[in-house]
């Protein structure tokens, strides 16, 4: 069975340490500088599951006016499937984030709460998936 190469670029913001992230059960640890590119081989169709843990209310530091000074969060800044980059708008739309304790999911690539992100790739051919999403290479 053919596997498809999927790449994720995650940006970690540190505040009392960083959030813990696992993608399809594999822990992802940031490199120095707070970013990591994580590669995974998957068989399509597939549902990618990203678990985010380790965030507590104490990790959001506010000033006296309530503005956030530092925070612990993770941002999914880039993703590619089969070496085809997913454009920002599409990436936002395919990431279904359900914060812990919530029933409804939201579309987002910025995660400042513990929770779970599901990305559904519902085609067995990544070329067809990209074309159906109208996802194009930047020319």
């Amino acid at each position: 069975m053919l596997t498809t190469n999927i790449s994720f670029k995650l940006e970690f913001s540190e505040s009392n340490g960083v959030m813990s992230v696992s993608i399809n059960g594999t822990n992802v640890t940031p490199e120095s500088g707070g970013n990591v590119v994580f590669l995974q081989e998957v068989i399509l169709p597939s549902q990618i599951e990203i678990l985010l843990t380790g965030k507590s209310p104490d990790d959001t530091i506010l000033d006296e006016k309530g503005n956030i000074l530092t925070d612990k969060y993770v941002k999914l800044s880039n993703m590619s499937i089969g070496n085809v980059p997913i454009n920002k708008r599409l990436l936002f739309n395919i990431c279904e984030f359900t914060p812990d304790g919530e029933l409804e999911s939201i579309k987002d690539t910025f995660y400042a709460f513990n929770g779970k992100v599901l990305i559904n790739i519902n085609e067995d051919d990544f070329i067809k998936w990209h074309l159906k999403q109208d996802n194009k290479f930047t020319l």
Binding site: L2, T3, T4, N5, S80, G82, N83, V84, P85, D125, F126, I127, K128, L131, K132, D134, K136, F137, T138, L139
Partner: protein, 471 residues
């Protein structure tokens, strides 16, 4: 592991003739003892789309990466077919040849699939199509797809030597991942292209392509060739004839297509080559004779005397003549210095000696005025007696301003405002709208075909311009 190189011509190039690069590179690698297979993927895709009901929408993808919903399955099939065609050869190296810039779009998609099917093969791209809209090297494109991991390396300029060096592992050779490339010092030293892997029955037009020269002797402002090959390089007649004789012997094909900017750049060698062909044809029936086509520049009659026309007649020549504009002042300014009577002379001689002419016209050249449009329409009416009587075809191409050309550099001087694509521009000094240009194109097409009886055509992209206005 034994090296096996797949050399592949990337679609979509609007031609029904063989693309030469894979065959030439195969012969070069053979000389070095490297096993390779040459695939003209372009003709396979051209044939797939020939009568396809979704052809126009599919071509939107090839030329502009527009994804129409009704052709997603077709596009997926084309990408997969192409990748499998290469992967089934189990290559260690995949060398993709891009002839024109629009091949860049399909290359990205193909490479992404190839990475999945052949994860251990290295992928290298090259060819004139890696340049930015044919102007200069589009390092953004090359670097972009390298960074995305879609290719390992790219080769700029003549790949005849650099591909061999690349296969040998010499990635520091000029032109490999760098725009500083070296010309092949002597074109006569190149081996004869090997078409053993080509299936000639796939081609609507069965010809053997030959590269007789690189660069040009002229200096036309719209042309990118002179920007790329700044000095004219040519092969001598004996060397070309040796190749022609070899290909006739190998494949039994006597029709040749010269793939240079001009066949008559060096008149002495050209006449000598014609004399070899003339001698070959002398005692043969028409079906067994050599025929050829090639780009041909108009010169003053003293350079192209009747003896030359006799030789061209005897060798069944088809001359692709770049007139570009029938308006003398416009033509002179663009760098084509022949006068109107020179055109008439060539039309008459073509008629007298039964030498077929294909007229290449740039429609709505950026310096042409509305009066020039009217003059051009009338010119075709005034010359309709040549329709199918020397002039066998009129090719209308919509004017583009290619980056890196003299025309592009002169844009400010001409008052031209350029758009994102070479075909999108407006001359602010003349105030001719895009609608007026399109109307002119449609009108000229109609006059040539309906009023004058010229067989007239255009390339796929120009035809799209026509169809956009519901012609």
């Amino acid at each position: 592991m034994t090296e096996k190189v797949v050399l592949c011509a990337i679609p979509y190039v609007d031609t029904v003739e063989p693309i030469m690069a894979p065959a030439l590179l195969k012969s070069i690698l053979m000389e070095e003892g490297v096993n390779s297979i040459a695939i003209d993927l372009n003709i396979e895709i051209v044939n797939k789309l020939k009568n396809h009901p979704n052809k126009k929408n599919i071509l939107d993808f090839f030329f502009s990466q527009i994804i129409h919903k009704n052709c997603i399955d077709d596009l997926t099939e084309i990408v997969n077919y192409s990748a499998n065609r290469i992967a089934e050869q189990h290559p260690t190296t995949i060398a993709l040849s891009l002839l024109i810039y629009s091949c860049q779009i399909f290359t990205r998609w193909l490479c992404s699939k190839l990475r999945q099917l052949c994860p251990d093969a290295r992928i290298v791209i090259g060819g004139t199509g890696i340049r930015n809209h044919i102007g200069n090297v589009n390092e953004d494109f090359c670097e972009q797809i390298k960074e995305l991991g879609l290719i390992d390396d790219y080769i700029v300029g003549d790949g005849d030597v650099s591909l061999v060096e690349y296969i040998k592992g010499n990635v520091d050779y000029p032109g490999i991942n760098s725009s500083n490339w070296q010309k092949v010092p002597d074109m006569n030293a190149l081996p004869i292209p090997n078409f053993d892997d080509y299936n000639f029955s796939l081609y609507e037009k069965i010809v053997i392509p030959i590269n007789d020269s690189r660069g040009c002797v002229k200096n036309c402002e719209f042309c990118d060739v002179i920007e790329y090959w700044q000095k004219f390089q040519f092969r001598n007649a004996e060397n070309i004839w040796e190749e022609m004789a070899h290909q006739i012997k190998c494949y039994g094909i006597t029709q040749f297509s010269f793939r240079s900017s001009l066949i008559n750049g060096n008149l002495k060698e050209f006449k000598k080559l014609l004399s070899y062909m003339q001698e070959y044809n002398k005692d043969k029936s028409k079906e067994k004779q050599i025929g050829w086509e090639g780009y041909f520049i108009i010169r003053a009659p003293t350079h192209h005397k009747k003896e030359l026309w006799e030789m061209m007649r005897d060798t069944n020549a088809v001359l692709l003549v770049g007139i570009e504009s029938v308006v003398y002042q416009v033509r002179y300014k663009m760098g084509k210095t022949f006068v109107d009577s020179d055109i008439t002379y060539h039309l008459d001689m073509g008629r007298q000696y039964n030498v077929k002419l294909v007229l290449l016209i740039i429609v709505a050249y950026p310096t042409e005025t509305l009066e020039d449009y009217e003059y051009s329409k009338q010119w075709f009416r005034d010359h309709k007696q040549y329709a199918n009587d020397s002039v066998v075809y009129v090719s209308l191409s919509y004017a583009s301003i290619l980056p890196g050309t003299q025309l592009s550099r002169r844009s400010d001087e001409y008052g031209i405002k350029k758009g994102k694509l070479p075909s999108i521009w407006i001359n602010q000094n003349l105030s001719i709208t895009n609608d007026q240009k399109r109307e002119y194109l449609i009108d000229l097409y109609r006059i040539c075909t309906e009023e004058c009886g010229f067989i007239t055509g255009s390339n796929e992209q120009t035809l799209e311009t026509l169809s956009d206005v519901d012609y």
